[in-house]
Symmetry: C4
Subunit: 257 residues, 4 copies
């Protein structure tokens, strides 16, 4: 396996779907929102992405079952009032190396471009590193109209204090080169735990923007489940770190072979 590839599980036809990206990141804010949307609205998985740029490992779930590292595409056909199709991207990892991020995000953009995607929403967290009382939602946009729209929905534009790193930024940047526009929504979060509050704040605004209706109360329950799963992920990242340190630090051989 030398290349990033997408495994199609189902042929689907979608009409100019909106693309929502929510790969795991700080506080798992975006991931929590997307998984809630998928569950509440009954989105259907139709494709999986695998990449040699993912961490070289597998997950083990609560039953001792092995799960490969992957990103997953779900679709959602037009819902109620909102005559709109969606593609939602979640997963258990992001790319590890900078070049890997470009390879993966470029593959994702090519894939959704083929479905006619014109608008992108990337969801994430904005880590403060300290307790957050009532999480704000920060945003940025690829054009001035979308930036104005965000302001109209009580999103604080992220001005003059940095950029957007990782898939949530890069997917918008690469999408621009294909003529797509979009926004990034980031829930304010301390960043060092699974943050359902930040996710609720993001979902509340996303709902209004997309004119979709989901039960936000259930998000807290889901956060609880996610917390358990994620503590595993963090441990794996740490083990990965340790392993990398074998090469870069002063430690003995101690990866699991």
């Amino acid at each position: 396996m030398n290349k990033t590839f997408i495994n199609n599980l189902e042929e689907v036809e979608l009409s100019e779907p909106i693309f929502i990206e929510a790969l795991p990141g700080i506080g798992h804010v975006g991931k929590l929102v997307a998984e809630h949307l998928i569950h509440e609205l009954g989105a259907v998985k139709f494709a999986e992405l695998y990449s040699p740029a993912f961490p070289p490992q597998v997950f083990v779930d609560e039953e001792g079952l092995i799960e490969p590292m992957k990103n997953e595409f779900y679709y959602l056909k037009s819902q109620g009032e909102a005559e709109q199709d969606y593609i939602i991207l979640v997963g258990n990892t992001q790319g590890l190396s900078p070049e890997g991020q470009y390879e993966i995000c470029g593959t994702i953009i090519d894939f959704v471009h083929n479905f006619g995607v014109k608008n992108i929403y990337t969801l994430g967290g904005l880590g403060t590193g300290q307790p957050v009382d009532k999480p704000k939602v920060f945003g940025a946009a690829t054009n001035i109209e979308l930036a104005e729209m965000l302001k109209g929905h009580d999103v604080t534009l992220r001005t003059a204090d940095g950029g957007i790193i990782g898939a949530s930024g890069l997917i918008l940047g690469l999408g621009m080169s294909k003529g797509m526009s979009g926004v990034c929504l980031m829930g304010e979060t301390p960043g060092y735990f699974i943050d359902a509050e930040a996710s609720k704040a993001v979902l509340t605004i996303l709902q209004k923007i997309l004119n979709v209706d989901v039960d936000i109360a259930k998000l807290e329950e889901r956060a609880e489940e996610t917390r358990k799963m994620i503590s595993k992920a963090q441990q794996m990242e740490r083990e990965m770190s340790d392993r990398m340190n074998i090469v870069q630090g002063e430690e003995d051989l101690r990866y699991i072979g």
Copy 2:
């Protein structure tokens, strides 16, 4: 040399062989088990894998002889009661970079897939970082039937506390995409020395699962030899570390040129 490649030493025909992976890792638990199986059952080396993703170095043995970095495939024709062929993978190194691990493990999976492998056993250690009284064997599986089978052999399923990093995990993950199933067996080990006790625990269970019979007592002797060889390997890893630090730290040029 820009690509991972396999050098075939002998043409062999095998009948749906079981694939056992035991590349060097924590406590060298898996490696010790596999080398014992190879020696006791008379497995025959039939292929070698070389890769630019291995560390850029060579080993020097006790006679001052140079040995390239490599992985080695052995086969074993059906033994006594167990009407079963085997492919066993050992070596003096694993891939260095994450992408390198994918390239190497992908090449390995393609290779054994061509021999009709359907079942995989990956062997390793689970490092506790502290003394272990009577080592348990932990496991994980690619499906529920295999997970049940492990439980029936006194294997503790590794639930809710992380994943499997490196070749032992990745080979199972990549194998799944080719329709293979398998398990990972990990001997509990402090992790900072060659651990024959953990290897014995793994071998005891592996023997029962595979219905193979080997002399476990001799494993301790082999562990002794291995200890010597491995202390060299660890030193090389440290030298490698030092070299990498030239690029990443504040040290002067001091690699061996």
Copy 3:
């Protein structure tokens, strides 16, 4: 997106243009000079370079608008007394990995070579790490005639104390293999802030060498604007650092996803 590529915005014909490189670097000395030249002389953007070797992120400007990472080529037709065309390269980033630097700088050299470039000026800073009273301009050249020319313009040849790292060095090195010659001009700078003084020193000498006339007084104003923009860039580099540390250090998952 797996390759570095150049997006042509306009077909231009240039007559043996001089190539000026000023990508962001220490004290942003070169960048400030080049942006001033572009603005004062009315240079026109005609091509953009994108690369998977750039940091995997986007910038967000003061209006909350997203800007992809890129390098930008401007041209300038012959000016007043100086019958000379120019290509000027600026951007918001350099390549991240060493191999990425080669890929990007190689692409740049191929591109400008097609326009008939024979002479290169790379502009940068030379960081002292301590306050600088009256910044000197240091230089190096690809041949003895150019080195003599630099001395004639009060440039201190950078002898016996090191080399030139990054795009400013590599572009000259790769250009030499295409038969191009050139010089690097480096303004002495503490290096830890946007240094308009060092930029003025470089511009003063560059003006004389190129026999071009621009208003140097305005450089200070521009430096002020740049300072704001750059403080963002530095923060992004730090966030990038933090993210890399996830893999290499002992920190938890906390990139923005």
Copy 4:
């Protein structure tokens, strides 16, 4: 420039030449020996190797002149009593990344293989990290006959205490896969300065093995010159380190752009 390549300066025919590798490394022991051989015996440069796996930088010499990073091949036609041709490899750098080392050393091996090389001598230092009274010469070989030959020339076989990292090891390892044999000679050195004493010890033995005659006294003079040149190289490595730390540590942007 995306690939390692060799630029041929002269067509030469050589008769089963011996290949001597001496790229810069610990104490610059090998480099000093090779440069002395080249100078004293009048070897002629006939090819240069360039690689995107070299550090992304250029050298500046004492006249302020820029020199690209490169490896250089010299040939030497049969000398006096020793009816033997030679290829000698020197340079101002080694590959930076592990994969880069494989790419470069693989290219080197392919190149010298085409000239009919069957025997390789790689020269380096063995760093002790502490003062060395009378430097020993350590060695390792690709077969038992060469190991015996080394013992006959007072070389201490490097047994049971590690391997050989970098080009000096990898070139032998990759050469073995092409049917070449060879030895590595390593002069004992503290490792933190240019060590003419260690070089003299290596040269003394190499002379006897190769039955070549050069003036060893002059080596000390050459060491003096080299010391100056190398202090620059070390500074560049440090600057390179600093630059890498931008990505991996907590520092601000401060590479020379």
